[in-house]
Amino acid sequence: MKLSGVLSLTLLSSLCLGAKRSSGGTFENYHAKSQSYAPLRLDDASYDELTATPRNHSVLVLLTALEARFGCQLCRDFQPEWDLLGRSWAKGDRHGDSRVLLGTLDFADGKGTFQKLMLQTAPIFLLFPPTSGRNAKPDGQPIRYDFTAGPQSAEQVVGWMSRYLPDGPKPAVQRPLNYVRIITVTTTLLGVLSFLSVAYPYILPVIQNRNLWAGISLITILLFTSGHMFNHIRKVPYVAGNGQGGISYFAGGFSNQFGMETQIVAAMYGTLSFATIALALRVPRMSDPKRQQLAVFIWGGVMFGMYSFLLSVFRIKNGGYPFHLPPF
């Protein structure tokens, strides 16, 4: 049993060596190339050669348009990830056990292919399954992957590939250590630390300033209660046109809002709060009766007017709301 295992192993390895030496098959040729430069850079001819049927290997081709004149931001964003994926795949699969080739076909090199496939958009992945051999798929039609969800990471692409690839080694993506980043982070950290230790006596009173903290807390609260997180999560537009050339500041509908709308609302809340604070804390501390009287009228008026405006804005959002205050 053991003997036979060893025997088959040696046989296999000799076969592999033989295959390598003979350099007969398409896969072996290109796999050897991919060891020095991955992912492979294809053109029309090599694309046709790689994807010709019958084939006993899988091919993953990224059809992209890198030249600046096409203005494909997504292509250029994804390219570093793709190179990384190609390199780590080549490194992790030196002997070609996975029988997968990764190639890039830039529009500049493969106009013919783009026309043949009638592609309007880039980048696109095509994954060609093998049509002969153990894991053959009868129709051999490529599986297409669109970048509908924006730029993808190399890991996500590997995950997608592995779903369709037959069993075999699937090297994980290995990201190189980013030395520049490590150094920058360390330097910045040390810099900040030393700055803090030097400036500590000057910063301390600022940190301990109650007004500062009160301001920070109030701004945070106003930000959150005026729906900032909604803008952040839903990525709402800042303003929108009202269809007549003007700007509509308030979005229709109860659970809908614009970026600017929330800022207006936050400003209203802020004004109302400030009026409240002024009436409750500032005004009773005024020593001059005349000025105090004036201040009461001003702040009371601001509060009343603003609240009335707030209610009228709310009636825009919620049609059936029955309450309002006089001016608006």
Binding site: Q208, H228, F274, T276, A280, P284, V296
Partner: protein, 769 residues
């Protein structure tokens, strides 16, 4: 004359008593108002909790603990008798989460059921036989009265003004943000949890103030109660340590803090571990690690303080501080290491989605799909809190005036809770108490200032202007770290005109607030989800009762053990009202199981049918709003089903396939084949165009015209459609008697000839001979 009569009641000891009595009466009135404003309409929901409570009352606590929900749900309501009886020998079959069954005791927060069980037994002991159903219905309003009282207590800790507490109580009692979750019949965990939340915070403030182990232990006790009642207890678990941490950072460490925090942490953690659903989470999950970390830090700080008192050497103290820093960093490192290596469970998904708002959308569609987990737009804040939303920042600012330990707590609570409420609509509930407290502080501060009858005597500013400004300056020096707007001494309001105008305006606002609350409560929060109200053209109200109609139909016309498949939102209602087993319900945590249902709904019939058969499904229920324009229907939720099942079967389900080439979600002629062949689409629109003249079928929710030819169903048959077509129920066909597949069987029934023969025949040729 009247003043003289009243005089002895308002001064001295009698005065205090009178005021105390008045306060009590006011509080009772507030509690009554809080209860009364929640009685607009009554529908018991969710049913599962009620079913569990019935089981608890009938079979006793221990049996409830071990309840494996796999047999006849409970004995019919009519047989509700007190004697705890053994579960009868009934055929074993699954009621919920078919076919898995549910270990109920270990998968729910039992606080709610136990509370009503205790009330039930106490009332029986007092020989007041009350139906458990009534207790369940009235539990939430009753506890809202207690919540009002708790907010009175906590606000009274914040300020010396007695009116603030009363204002906070009435705010808490009638604010729509809280009513939304506590109307009569809303028998959910939140019903008691908000009271526990506020009361625990009150006890915590009390214990920090007094530094007493007794208050600390009480905090721990109510914390334990809270843990047993609601998953939101994690908010307390993180807020109290944060408060402690901030106090330490502010240099406000004191033995009081040490005693209260240590007591709470030790006892509270033990108490929380008694709940089976929580179990060992408090020492294993990252959600609870901040409490542990602060506990450790507090021990270190206490140690240093102790040493400092013993050793006067300054250098030694510096060394000690360094030591503490090192220990803290090392323990943080170990914590991170343990988290990375997997000994400590990473943050649970819901909490990820709180911090990294994009996380849930990508990784856990099941959390992102729940409408309560959506972010909050600003109208929702105003709708739920009305004028308090702008009094809230003012109140927080007033907390900075004195900034004692308890005020720090309010500030932290305010900032955190407003963030959480912004991220998830559901967490508006945790924001409401602090908003009420802060708004009460602001309003009471205004009223206290402007309701003083005596006017201060204006000083001769010209004569001693110099002197006053000097004295002001020195006062400002004394209280250096106070707020800018409160540096000068309080003088008062000079004229009656200003007093009258401000008080009048504030009263108007408050009256408007009451009107707003009444309006919101009667309009928005009192229409239960199972009964929809609509207005007819003539203005009269029309009740749409399709849900109950359909559930009643299920109850009457289907065999007792028929399994119903529906999307998980309707699981509790079907389980409760129709009394039929369901595959998934609102509390299912098994993602794969939900995804299975999603897959069955979103696949072709040929794929779905085996799934339905494997899960013994007899009936499939869908909610369809196309006829009525009811937007909360299943087609609108459909994408979530697709996403959730795509998470498990990415090869078979692909969200992209349900969108047209231009990326639109459509149901009309341009809908993609995948969409039109999905079981959900077919079930929703089956036979729908029969209602309209040919080719004019219209979907009123999506506002689109439907294809001229409706979808064909072969493996299901329509069993029931409610009056307004909101609920449609389909029966899963049995296997064909003759062994055909369903498609050809239907074709045969319709009189179509077999396609094969048609093909073979070829073109007709004229015979010429």
């Amino acid at each position: 004359m009247a003043v003289e009569v009243l005089e002895p009641f308002l001064k001295g000891d009698t005065g205090r008593n009178t005021r105390g009595l008045l306060r009590l009466i006011i509080l009772c009135t507030i509690a009554a108002a809080a209860v009364a404003s929640r009685l607009f309409s009554v529908i018991l929901d969710p049913w599962f909790n009620f079913r569990a409570t019935k089981y608890l009352v009938q079979n006793g606590f221990y049996s409830f603990w071990d309840w494996f929900d796999d047999r006849e749900a409970s004995h019919p309501v009519a047989q509700l008798v007190y004697e705890p009886r053994k579960p009868a020998e009934e055929p074993k079959r699954t009621r919920t989460w078919h076919p898995l069954g549910r270990v109920t005791g270990g998968t729910l927060y039992p606080g709610l059921m136990v509370t009503s069980g205790i009330i039930y037994h106490v009332l029986r002991f007092l020989s007041m036989p009350v139906d458990i159903r009534n207790i369940c219905v009235l539990l939430a309003p009753g506890f809202s009265g207690l919540t009002a009282f708790a907010s009175y207590l906590i606000t009274s800790e914040m300020t010396t003004s007695p009116s603030a507490g009363l204002l906070a109580a009435i705010f808490m009692g009638i604010t729509p943000g809280y009513i939304s979750r506590s109307v009569a019949g809303s028998y959910d965990n939140e019903a008691i949890a908000i009271f526990l939340l506020v009361f625990t915070f009150f006890l915590w403030i009390k214990s920090v103030k007094n530094g007493s182990a007794m208050w600390g232990a009480l905090t721990a006790l109510f914390y334990g109660y809270m843990v047993s009642a609601w998953g939101g207890y994690v908010f307390i678990t993180n807020l109290l340590p944060l408060h402690t941490f901030v106090l330490i950072c502010m240099g406000r460490y004191s033995p009081r803090l040490y005693v209260s925090y240590s007591t709470w942490f030790a006892l509270g953690t033990l108490a929380s571990m008694q709940v089976p659903f929580v179990g060992f989470l408090p020492i294993r999950s990252s959600d609870h690690m901040s409490a542990l970390g602060v506990f450790g830090l507090l021990q270190l700080v206490a140690f240093v303080e102790f040493i400092r008192q013993q050793v006067p050497n300054k250098q030694f103290q510096t060394l000690l501080r360094g030591l503490i820093f090192v220990v803290f960093v090392v323990s943080m490192g170990v914590l991170v290491l343990l988290t990375v290596s997997g000994v400590i469970a990473p943050w649970s998904g819901r909490f990820y989605s709180l911090w990294d708002t994009g996380y849930a959308k990508i990784h856990i569609p099941i959390i992102a799909s729940v409408s309560e987990h959506q972010p909050t737009a600003w109208p929702a804040f105003f709708f739920d809190l009305n004028l308090m939303i702008w009094l809230f920042p003012a109140g927080v600012y007033m907390c900075f005036q004195q900034l004692k330990d308890e005020h720090v707590f309010v500030v932290i609570y305010a900032v955190l809770a407003s963030y959480f409420a912004g991220v998830m609509v559901r967490l508006m509930l945790t924001l409401t108490p602090v908003v009420c407290i802060a708004a009460a502080l602001a309003i009471s501060s205004i009223l206290d200032t402007y309701l003083v009858a005596e006017n201060p005597i204006p000083k001769e500013t010209q004569a001693n202007g110099q002197a006053t400004s000097d004295s002001i300056k020195s006062a400002a020096d004394v209280i250096k770290d106070s707020l800018r707007s409160t540096r000068n001494p309080v003088l008062g309001i000079y004229s009656y005109v200003s007093k009258a105008s401000v008080v009048g305006a504030v009263t108007t606002y408050l009256l408007l607030f009451v009107l707003h609350c009444t309006w919101v409560t009667s309009n928005a929060y009192s229409s239960p989800s199972v009964v929809l109200a609509s207005k007819l053209p003539d203005g009269s109200q029309h009740i749409i009762d399709d849900y109950r109609e359909a559930y009643y139909w299920l109850r009457q016309n289907t065999p007792d053990k028929a399994k119903i498949m529906s999307w998980w939102d309707y699981g509790y209602q079907i389980g409760g009202m129709a009394d039929r087993p369901t595959l998934v319900d609102n509390n299912t945590w098994n993602n794969t199981h939900i995804a299975t249902v999603g897959k069955a709904m979103s696949s072709r019939e040929e794929v779905s049918y085996p799934i339905l058969r494997q899960h013994d499904v007899d009936y499939v229920l869908v909610v369809f709003g196309g006829l009525l324009g009811y937007s909360g229907d299943d087609i609108n939720k459909f994408l979530w089903m697709v996403r959730i099942s795509e998470g498990i079967w990415p090869d078979e389900i692909n969200e992209r396939n349900y969108f047209t080439a231009r990326g639109e979600y459509r149901v009309d002629d341009e809908a993609t084949p995948t969409m039109r062949n999905s079981l959900m689409y077919k079930m929703s629109y089956y036979n729908y165009n029969a209602l309209f003249p040919a080719g004019q079928a219209q979907d009123r929710v999506r506002g689109s015209k439907l294809p001229a030819e409706g979808p064909q169903l072969s493996t299901l048959e329509e069993a029931f459609t409610s009056e307004n077509w909101i609920i449609r129920i389909y029966k899963v066909k049995d296997l064909d008697n003759v062994g055909r597949d369903h498609g050809s069987a239907v074709a045969f029934d319709k009189g179509n000839k077999k396609k094969k023969t048609a093909k073979r025949r070829g073109a007709r040729v004229l015979r010429v001979e």
